[in-house]
């Protein structure tokens, strides 16, 4: 299972999303490799990924992908991240 957390610059926000996604997966008892990347590198970073986590504003920049795009509103809300991840991959 591969999950990519995506932001505009590849520093900062995607890393926060990555850290909290790992916590949410722990809570769900699910094992996955979670990486952080930016939209400029999404084609490479998300190759083979099942899920892309990102913010509502960035969805349009992602382009074609086979991954499920999961939109997170509050990057610190573990309940939101866990329930959305669970319905995407559970």
């Amino acid at each position: 299972m591969k999950i990519v957390a995506l932001c505009g610059a590849g520093i900062g926000t995607s890393e926060i999303l990555r850290v909290n996604a790992v916590r949410a997966l722990d809570r769900l008892g699910l094992d996955a490799e979670v990486s952080a990347s930016d939209v400029a590198n999404v084609a490479v970073a998300a190759a083979g990924a099942q899920v892309i986590l990102t913010s509502p504003e960035l969805v349009a920049s992602i382009g074609r992908t086979n991954a499920d795009i999961v939109v997170i509103e509050n990057y610190f809300d573990l309940d939101e991240i866990a329930s959305k991840l669970e319905s995407a991959i559970g």
Binding site: C7, G8, A9, G10, I11, G12, T13, E15, I16, L17, V19, N20, R23, V39, T54, S55, P56, E57, L58, S61, E73, N74, Y75, F76, D77, L78
Partner: protein, 165 residues
């Protein structure tokens, strides 16, 4: 890896700006850029790049209700890694679908892409408690801000200690 951003509860005075006046989201980001410049982390052009990131991708930097994390890629205008905390006198609208208005702006400067990771993980510790953002916005002194930021560094941690170097 050296943990070169100081722990959040030890942020120096120039890295904390209280009740800054900002007419719009651009001036809110500029306030964070000024604090980064006064902290010796970046040149003023870094503020232009932080604004350009929002112009290019939208207000995705508003990552939680009331909280924006202004940042841009590493570049020659970043002289040292750092984080600043700016609270706004009046909340500002960024145009985010869910998380407006913003009352707290974090500014992040990184000199290389993964240098800030420990500091960013500590931000996750802090803001998993949703009461912290309004508490920061209401803080009336830098010491009060530092006291609130102490939650970013819990005494018992299951990850690599930041002060190991």
């Amino acid at each position: 890896m050296t943990f070169s951003i100081p722990p959040l509860d030890q942020l120096p005075d120039p890295a904390i700006a209280l009740h800054a006046t900002a007419a719009d989201w651009r001036s809110a980001i500029r306030a964070a850029a000024e604090a980064l410049t006064e902290s010796g982390c970046s040149e003023p052009s870094y503020g232009d790049r932080m604004i350009a990131l929002v112009e290019e991708y939208g207000p995705y930097i508003v990552i939680a209700p009331g909280l924006a994390m202004a940042h841009a890629r590493p570049g020659p205008d970043v002289t040292a890694p750092g984080i600043v905390v700016v609270t706004l006198a009046e909340p500002v609208t960024f145009g985010h679908a869910y998380n407006d208005p913003v009352s707290v702006v974090l500014g992040l400067a990184a000199t290389e892409a993964d240098q800030h990771v420990a500091a960013v993980a500590s931000l996750a510790n802090l803001f998993n408690d949703e009461s912290v953002i309004p508490a920061l916005a209401a803080a009336t002194s830098r010491d009060e801000v530092r006291r609130l930021l102490r939650a970013a560094h819990p005494p018992v941690s299951d990850s690599t200690p930041g002060e190991a170097s």
